[in-house]
């Protein structure tokens, strides 16, 4: 297998992989919101309420969530 062929396969499979990831991400975003796991839209408030003294939108470390 020469580098040309390798390039072709790499390009093809990587593209498919990334497309699957992107669609998976879309599905994940909506499913997790529907199930009530997470409210993505609340992150928009990070910009609106941004005093140094305000309560963080999400302040628990990742290990303690849920």
């Amino acid at each position: 297998m020469d580098i040309r062929e390798l390039q072709g396969y790499a390009s093809f499979f990587m593209t498919i992989f990334l497309v699957i990831m992107l669609y998976g991400y879309i599905i994940y975003l909506y499913r997790s919101e529907k199930r009530g796991d997470r409210d993505y839209e609340k992150y928009g408030n990070i910009a609106l309420d941004d005093e140094v003294t305000s309560t963080p939108v999400e302040d628990k470390p990742a290990s303690q969530r849920e």
Binding site: E41, A47, L48, D50, P56, D59
Partner: protein, 488 residues
């Protein structure tokens, strides 16, 4: 508002970068206006001897607006937005304050030295990467300091989720690092020859077609990660904050982010259509340029929808007007770019003035408008004074909007005229025009463009004056405004 006086955001670094944004913005646009005028009136080439020719000044214009104005604007807003969306003050870490100060001063001195080096003619001749190797090393250091500052403050954050603007700032940091490093690899000739010749001189690591590929992979994506990604970061913070409206769809902003990251990098080869790079690569560049409309418009539409039901703010608040117009110009230029990347259109458009026309509706209309409105939003909060004059903002807005329209319309006409004249043949198939015919015909358009430069620069001077007054002598604020920026 804050009960705890000890805990406040520290804007000292953001202020310093605000000054350089205004300074380099003025210088870059001044040189830009001069070289635009030189194309209409060539006598202007001889103002300062060999240092004043169009060819010597053009890189100074491009590099001053890119690495002077825009990058200063990115740093200024970063040192402002970064703290706020992470809800942690820089003052809480002495280390980060020190890094910030070193970052600024190295940047400022480096920028001055770099400009002088271009004036003297030291150049690697890669567009937007002209600086010779010693200056490249300084630039890399500056960038590393910025990286330390980003990840340092992210490390001590209170807000655990990273707001979408931060994603874009981090992407800007990573993208520019990768591109700049690879495109600037070169071999200094002095050290390999026992000290012969100039220390400054180097040869590119790549040759010919490869060099072109790497350069335009860089050139195109420097635009992506310098003029798009961090500016989107700004609008995702400043538009919601100024209008009091949360982003229309946060999920859409996340999707557009990944879409933009993936697609943008492929499109670089559209700068090399009909050249000697392999055909499949040119086609790939064309195709991905079209796909690129999707994530770009995803962000832009998200911004416009954020204002849904709040359009009255457009008449009440000139900053909203700036930002909405900026999103609109972003949509225009991200549609125009893909059109130019279609191979048959590119055959006419490439090498003509339509290309600078495209660059400038993006840069003048989107980048500069967004950075100026960001500064308008930041300065009252950093200096605790209201904006000096709303009327001046309105005047500036209209002068600059007219200037942008004059710029791109004149360059569209000039570019298409010249592109068509180059290929025009008579009934026997002979070329109809000699090259010089296609130059002299452009004189009126070059004159209009020079006029638009003067107008835009005037608008920027009004902006600088308004900023100066707002920093020093307008009415003091007792507490920080939550959303709409107060102005007299």
């Amino acid at each position: 508002m804050q009960s705890n006086a000890a805990l406040e955001y520290d804007y000292s670094i953001a202020k310093l970068f605000t000054y350089t944004t205004i300074l380099f913005g003025f210088l870059g646009m001044l040189v830009g206006t001069l070289i635009a005028a030189q194309m209409a009136f060539p006598e202007l080439n001889y103002l300062i001897g060999e240092y004043g020719t169009f060819s010597r000044l053009r890189p100074i214009h491009t590099n001053t607006v890119v690495f002077g104005f825009t990058v200063s604007g990115i740093f200024a807003t970063w040192y402002y937005v970064g703290q706020r969306v992470l809800k942690v003050s820089m003052a809480e870490s002495k280390f980060l304050m020190a890094i910030g100060k070193i970052h600024f001063w190295l940047y400022f001195v480096g920028a001055l030295v770099a400009t002088v080096s271009l004036l003297l003619g030291y150049s690697q001749s890669h567009e937007y990467a002209q600086y010779e190797w010693p200056i490249d090393i300084v630039i890399v250091l500056i960038w590393i300091l910025w990286g330390i500052s980003i990840f340092g403050i992210v490390g001590i954050r209170r807000e655990k989720s990273l707001y979408i603007s931060l994603w874009y700032y981090i992407a800007c940091f990573l993208g520019v690092s990768m591109l700049y490093l690879f495109n600037n690899i070169s071999v200094p000739t002095y050290f390999l020859t026992d000290g012969l010749g100039s220390v400054m001189h180097s040869v590119s690591m790549y040759s010919g077609t490869n060099d072109a590929l790497v350069q335009w992979w860089y050139g195109h994506n420097a635009v992506a990660f310098g003029f798009t990604v961090p500016i989107v970061a700004m609008i995702y913070y400043f538009l919601p904050k100024e209008s009091g409206q949360a982003i229309y769809s946060y999920k859409l902003s996340l999707l557009s982010f990944w879409g933009l990251m993936f697609v943008y990098l492929w499109a670089g080869s559209h700068h090399l259509l009909w050249s000697t790079v392999p055909d499949w690569m040119q086609t790939m560049g064309s195709a991905f340029s079209i796909v690129l409309i999707l994530p770009s418009w995803g962000s832009a539409i998200n911004m416009l929808l954020t204002m849904k039901g709040e359009w009255n703010q457009l008449t009440e608040n000139p900053l909203i007007k700036f930002m909405v117009l900026a999103s609109t110009f972003y949509m225009l230029s991200t549609l125009e770019g893909p059109i130019q990347a279609i191979k048959s259109v590119n055959a006419i458009a490439h090498f003509t003035d339509w290309i600078p026309g495209h660059v400038h509706d993006g840069v003048l209309g989107w980048v500069v408008f967004m950075i100026m409105s960001a500064l308008f939003h930041m300065v009252p909060r950093m200096f605790k004074r209201e904006i000096y004059s709303k009327k001046l903002i309105e005047v500036q807005f209209w002068i600059q909007t007219v200037a942008v329209v004059l710029y791109f319309t004149s360059m569209w006409i000039a570019g298409i005229t010249q592109g068509m004249m180059w290929r025009a043949v008579d009934e026997y198939g002979n070329l109809m025009y000699s090259f010089i015919d296609t130059v002299t015909v452009l004189h009126p358009y070059y004159a209009i463009r020079a006029l638009s430069g003067v107008l835009y620069l005037t608008g920027f001077l009004i902006f600088a004056y308004n900023m100066y007054k707002s920093m020093t002598s307008s009415k003091q604020l007792t507490e920080e405004p939550q959303f709409k920026t107060p102005m007299a």
